[in-house]
């Protein structure tokens, strides 16, 4: 799509308190352009609840409801029910970090997904608790340094987007700060659907990931180009890779080596060769799994009706 087709209206106002080169504010700006004015944002404890500014001012030009860490999806369910009761048709959208999604907000998220609440849940995943000074989360990848994993995290990350697919909600998508037009289109699509919609954005964090602030977009692209982050959509039971991930799966593009992504960031600078091998194996396994999921999906009808 042409960039000029994006609305000129800004719903994230300048002079907010986000860090230099913040991918979260970058993506929120794009997301709000896609959602438009008729939107209520629910924000649990996260960087966003800080960079939106303090009472009596707000950097976000749509109604925002700040809620407790554990309860974003539950709060959104209640707000949607209330709006429905009042006859108001609006997009009810959660904007939560990975701490509020993967760890502390997980039960509320799972509950809302299971009830198929008519809300959009967007997780901006910076793979750590950035706001409180870089602690590990369930989304932190293997080997990454954080202030609570000084010698690198010993476990692989979990995957909540896949967990949402197993909840069989109408729409699940992954996006990256490296591909904002793709993010815009996915949010646009989700907005037109009904029921529970989950979008997860890989949101690089310059201070937490330890890379120069201007490289946010580059890092967001490298994550996808090396297979560390995979772009896909799950729509009404159908799974498909999208964008650069699709191009790689179809052989139209060559996958870059994982080292290009890892060693562009200070949080991986200490990795041993063994660590890199371990991450490469993890990435390859995940690739095989998702590519197989896509092909199984298309082969399914033949298998069932022989």
């Amino acid at each position: 799509m042409r960039i000029s087709a994006l609305p000129r209206e800004e719903y994230l106002l300048p002079g907010n308190a986000a860090c230099h080169g913040c991918a979260s504010s970058m993506c929120l700006r794009t997301v709000l352009k896609a959602l438009g004015k008729n939107t209520v944002l629910i924000v649990p404890a996260s960087c966003t609840s800080v960079y939106q500014g303090m009472f009596p001012n707000s950097a976000i030009a749509v109604p925002v409801f700040n809620t407790a860490f554990a309860s974003a999806a539950a709060t959104a369910s209640g707000i949607k029910a209330s709006l429905l009761q009042q006859g108001i048709d609006a997009n009810v959208v959660v904007w939560a970090g990975d701490g509020g999604t993967y760890d502390i907000g997980l039960q509320a998220l799972s509950g809302a997904a299971e009830r198929n609440e008519d809300i959009i849940y967007i997780c901006y995943n910076n793979e750590m608790y950035s706001n409180t000074g870089i602690q590990r989360s369930g989304a932190t990848p293997y080997g990454a340094w954080t202030t609570t994993t000084w010698s690198g995290k010993k476990e692989h990350r979990k995957d909540v987007a896949e967990l949402m697919m197993s909840h069989e909600v109408p729409y699940v998508a992954t996006a990256s700060a490296g591909y904002l037009a793709d993010l815009y289109q996915k949010v646009k699509k989700a907005k037109k659907m009904e029921g529970f919609r989950y979008i997860e954005i890989l949101s690089p964090c310059p201070p937490g990931w330890r890379y120069p602030m201007e490289k946010t977009v580059e890092i967001g692209k490298l994550a996808v180009e090396t297979g560390m982050w995979i772009l896909y959509e799950y729509e009404e039971g159908h799974f498909r890779l999208t964008g650069v991930s699709k191009a790689i799966a179809e052989g139209r593009r060559k996958m870059k080596d994982i080292g290009e992504y890892l060693f562009a960031q200070g949080r991986f600078a200490h990795l041993s060769d063994g660590d890199v091998v371990k991450i490469r194996e993890y990435v390859e396994d995940r690739w095989r799994k998702l590519v197989k999921m896509e092909s199984d999906m298309h082969a399914a009808s033949a298998k069932f009706y022989v």
Partner: protein
């Protein structure tokens, strides 16, 4: 029926943990329900523990009650504890012309408040509780006599209805509680008392603190973020192809589309240089910021 439409009473209980404020709130709601009203009882959520100041709330209405919040501007206040008056502002938010029932040996005229006038009712509920042996772990349980006193100023529930609920709730202790309810009802002193009518500035501040804080959108919530800038991006319009990549990726909304070209808002640009990094034409030059 017409005048009854929309009629609703909000009641706030003040007590200390163990005196039975929550139970009183529930029993009052049940008696109201049996009297044909819609009713609701809500305990205060917080660090409740025995001896600490607690609150409970009851709403009584002719129509369905949709609120689920605490009561902030009550029509009635019931104070179960005579000492709590020194620690808690029990008059806070009480509507002018409203009513308050206080467990005390003082008389209604002894109380001062900022409302224009209030109906003040006093009763020695602690004395009545001791007399009727309503003691739990040594603490006089004053909640039932206080409900008896409350009915003296709240005429929408019959004393018999309340007694019926109390009997059902307390079983073998029902009789003693009912006796205390009746004794309190009969011994309550009610007087209309004039207050100062002038809210203190402190009270105005408190009132503002209990309304829901709503922010308004405005740029510059973090101040003039130009002062965060170490490096200054500048567009070379001769090279710029107006592809809008910088506009799309600016995390700060500090690049605007003005007419057919883009412009950097130097008041708020933090100088992250993402614009320069994503520019395919290398049309954004970077120089050191020099503060003049």
């Amino acid at each position: 029926m017409g005048e009854k439409l929309g009629k609703k009473w909000e009641i706030r209980f003040h007590g200390r943990g163990g005196q039975g404020a929550v139970t009183a709130s529930k029993i009052l709601a049940e008696a109201a329900y049996l009297s044909g009203f819609e009713a609701q009882s809500i305990p205060f959520f917080g660090a409740e523990r025995r001896g600490a100041p607690v609150m409970a709330f009851t709403r009584v209405s002719y129509e369905a009650i949709h609120e689920r919040s605490q009561v902030y501007t009550p029509d009635y206040v019931i104070v179960l504890d005579p000492i709590i008056l020194d620690a808690v502002d029990v008059f806070r938010g009480l509507k002018d012309g409203g009513s308050i029932v206080i467990n005390t040996v003082k008389s209604p005229m002894d109380f001062q408040f900022e409302q224009g006038s209030l109906l003040v009712a006093t009763v020695d509920a602690t004395g009545i509780a001791i007399k009727n042996n309503l003691l739990v772990a040594g603490t006089p349980v004053v909640n039932m006599p206080m409900l008896g006193a409350f009915l003296k100023i709240f005429s929408h529930i019959e004393l018999e209805t309340l007694e019926e609920v109390v009997m059902k709730k307390f079983g073998k202790n029902g009789k003693a509680n009912v006796a205390a309810v009746r004794e309190a009802y009969e011994s309550t002193v009610v007087e209309k008392v004039r207050g100062s009518g002038k809210p203190s500035t402190e009270d105005v501040r408190r009132k503002r603190a209990v309304t829901m804080p709503v922010s308004t959108p405005s740029p510059g919530v973090a101040g003039r973020t130009r002062f965060w800038r170490d490096f200054r991006p500048e567009v070379d319009y001769d090279v710029c192809s107006n592809c809008l990549s910088c506009w799309l990726h600016c995390p700060e909304s500090a690049i605007q589309r003005v007419g057919s070209r883009i412009e950097i808002d130097y008041e708020f640009c933090k100088g992250c240089l993402v614009c320069s990094a994503v520019c395919p034409k290398k049309a954004i030059r970077v120089s050191r910021e020099v503060v003049v």
